[in-house]
C-alpha cells in the first residue's frame, strides 16, 4: 500500500527537490511506500483533501486547524525552530517607515497564503486598517508581489518571511520592511490521517530521526530546515490552534 504525502503549496520553488529527497529518505527509513503530492495551489490542495487522497500532510497552520479539529488528523511532528512569520514591506523609496503610515484605500499585494494574510491583517490593526479598508492585489507568487512593491504599484506587500528572505539581494535592497512578525508560536505541522495510525510509529521515527546522519542532514539542508523535525503532541497542536483562533478577528 502506498501512502500519499501532500506538501502544502507555500514552499519556495528552490525547495522542490528537497521535498522529493525527504520523500525518498522517509521511504527508505520507514519501509513504507510514499507518493509525494505537490499541489500548485491551495485550491488544488483542498480538492485532494476533500477527495480523501491525503494520508500524510505537511500543512500550513491555518489548514492544520481544520484538519485536526474537524477531520481528526493526528499531529505528530513539526519543523524545529522554523516558525511561520510574515513581513510587510514597501518600496525603499516610499515615504512610509512603519505600518501606521499606511492609510485607508492603500493597495497591498499578496499571494493566496491565508496564514500570511491573517497575521498581516493583525499587524495592520495599529494603523486602524481593517480588511475592507485595503485594496487587495492578489498575484501568483512572491516574486510578483515584490515586483509590484518595488515598482510602487502598491503601497505595501505581504510576504511569508522565508519567501522575503529568499528574494535576491538586489530586490531586497529596493524594498523596505515596515514590520516583521516575531510570534514564534506558529509553524507548519505534519499530520497523519487516522486511517494510517498503525503505520504512524514507523513514519514518525523516520521523520524525527532524519538528521541523524550525513545523508539526512543533506536532505534537511535542501529543505531549508537544518534543525530537522521535533515531535508534536495533540496538545501542542491544540495550543497552536487556540492561538490561531484568537487571530481570526
Amino acid at each position: 500500500m502506498t501512502l500519499n504525502f501532500l506538501i502544502a503549496p507555500d514552499f519556495a520553488p528552490e525547495r522542490f527537490a528537497g521535498w522529493h529527497m525527504l520523500n525518498t529518505a522517509l521511504q527508505r527509513r520507514s519501509g513504507i511506500k510514499l507518493h509525494l503530492l505537490t499541489p500548485a495551489s491551495p485550491a488544488e490542495q483542498s480538492r485532494a483533501i476533500e477527495a480523501g487522497q491525503v494520508d500524510l500532510i505537511y500543512a500550513n497552520p491555518f489548514d492544520a486547524a481544520g484538519m485536526v479539529r474537524d477531520k481528526g488528523y493526528i499531529p505528530f511532528a513539526r519543523p524545529r525552530m522554523a516558525f511561520d512569520e510574515m513581513v510587510i514591506a514597501c518600496a525603499a523609496s516610499s515615504p512610509a517607515t512603519r505600518v501606521e503610515d499606511l492609510r485607508p484605500g492603500a493597495r497591498i499585494a499578496l499571494t493566496d497564503n491565508r496564514d500570511v494574510k491573517l497575521i498581516g491583517l493583525r499587524l495592520l490593526e495599529p494603523a486602524d486598517l481593517a480588511e475592507s479598508d485595503i485594496q487587495w492585489v492578489a498575484v501568483d507568487s512572491y516574486q510578483a508581489v515584490a515586483r509590484l512593491a518595488l515598482r510602487a504599484e502598491v503601497e505595501a506587500a505581504f510576504f511569508l518571511a522565508q519567501a522575503y528572505a529568499s528574494l535576491g539581494r538586489m530586490t531586497r535592497s529596493q524594498l523596505k520592511v515596515l514590520v516583521e512578525s516575531r510570534i514564534r508560536d506558529i509553524s507548519h505541522v505534519v499530520l497523519a490521517h487516522p486511517r494510517v495510525a498503525d503505520q504512524l510509529p514507523q513514519i514518525s521515527a523516520a521523520l524525527l530521526g532524519i538528521g541523524g546522519d550525513a545523508a539526512g542532514l543533506e536532505v534537511l539542508e535542501a529543505l531549508g530546515l537544518p534543525a530537522g523535525f521535533e515531535p508534536m503532541t495533540q496538545e501542542d497542536a491544540e495550543f497552536m490552534i487556540d492561538l490561531m483562533d484568537t487571530l481570526l478577528d
Binding site: V99, R122, D128, V179, R182, I183, L243, D245, T246, L247
Partner: protein, 164 residues
C-alpha cells in the same frame, strides 16, 4: 499563592489598593511611564479555570517585567492596573466560560509600575468537549481606540468609586 504588595518604585508614583474577585487584595504603585507594545509580537498566556497562569511566552515575560517563575502560578490579575474599571472586564469570564471569544482593550500594570496597552483576545481551551483553561493573546493596539476609550474608562472608574 496570593500576591504580595508591589515594591514602591524609586521615582514618582501613585499608590492604590486593589481588591479582587477571590477576596485577595494588593497594594500597587503606578508611574506615568508607558512601555510601547513591541512591533510584530504577540503576548501569549494560558491560565487554568481559576485564572492562574500556567504558560507565559517570552513577550509576556519581557513586557510584564516579571520573571517567568513569578508569573507561573500567579493569578492573571497580577497585571491589573488601577485605572482599569471593573466593568471593562465585565463579561470576560462569563464569555469564555460559556465557550465564546472575548476581545477588549486593556491597560496593564508592569512590575516596575509602568504600564502598557494591549488589544486582548481570550478563548476557552476546549478539549474533548470540556473547557480546561483559557488562552489569552495580546497584540499591538490602535492608538485611536485607546484615545477613544481612555475617557470612557475614566468615567466608568469614577462611577464605580462613587457607588462603592
Amino acid at each position: 499563592m496570593p500576591l504580595t504588595d508591589m515594591t514602591r518604585p524609586s521615582g514618582a508614583c501613585t499608590e492604590a489598593r486593589l481588591s479582587f474577585w477571590d477576596g485577595a487584595a494588593r497594594t500597587v504603585y503606578c508611574t506615568e511611564t508607558e512601555v510601547p507594545f513591541p512591533d510584530g509580537r504577540l503576548i501569549v498566556s494560558r491560565t487554568d479555570l481559576a485564572g492562574i497562569i500556567t504558560h507565559a511566552n517570552d513577550a509576556f515575560v519581557e513586557m510584564s517585567g516579571y520573571a517567568r517563575d513569578e508569573l507561573i502560578g500567579a493569578p492573571h490579575y497580577i497585571l491589573r492596573h488601577p485605572e482599569m474599571p471593573r466593568v471593562a472586564f465585565k463579561g470576560l469570564w462569563d464569555t469564555v466560560a460559556a465557550g465564546q471569544k472575548w476581545h477588549g482593550w486593556v491597560k496593564n500594570l508592569r512590575k516596575d509600575g509602568a504600564y502598557y496597552w494591549v488589544y486582548a483576545t481570550a478563548v476557552p481551551n476546549v478539549r474533548n468537549g470540556s473547557i480546561v483553561g483559557f488562552t489569552s493573546v495580546r497584540r499591538k493596539p490602535s492608538r485611536t481606540k485607546i484615545a477613544e476609550l481612555t475617557p470612557i474608562y475614566r468615567q466608568w472608574l469614577e462611577a464605580e468609586r462613587a457607588a462603592s
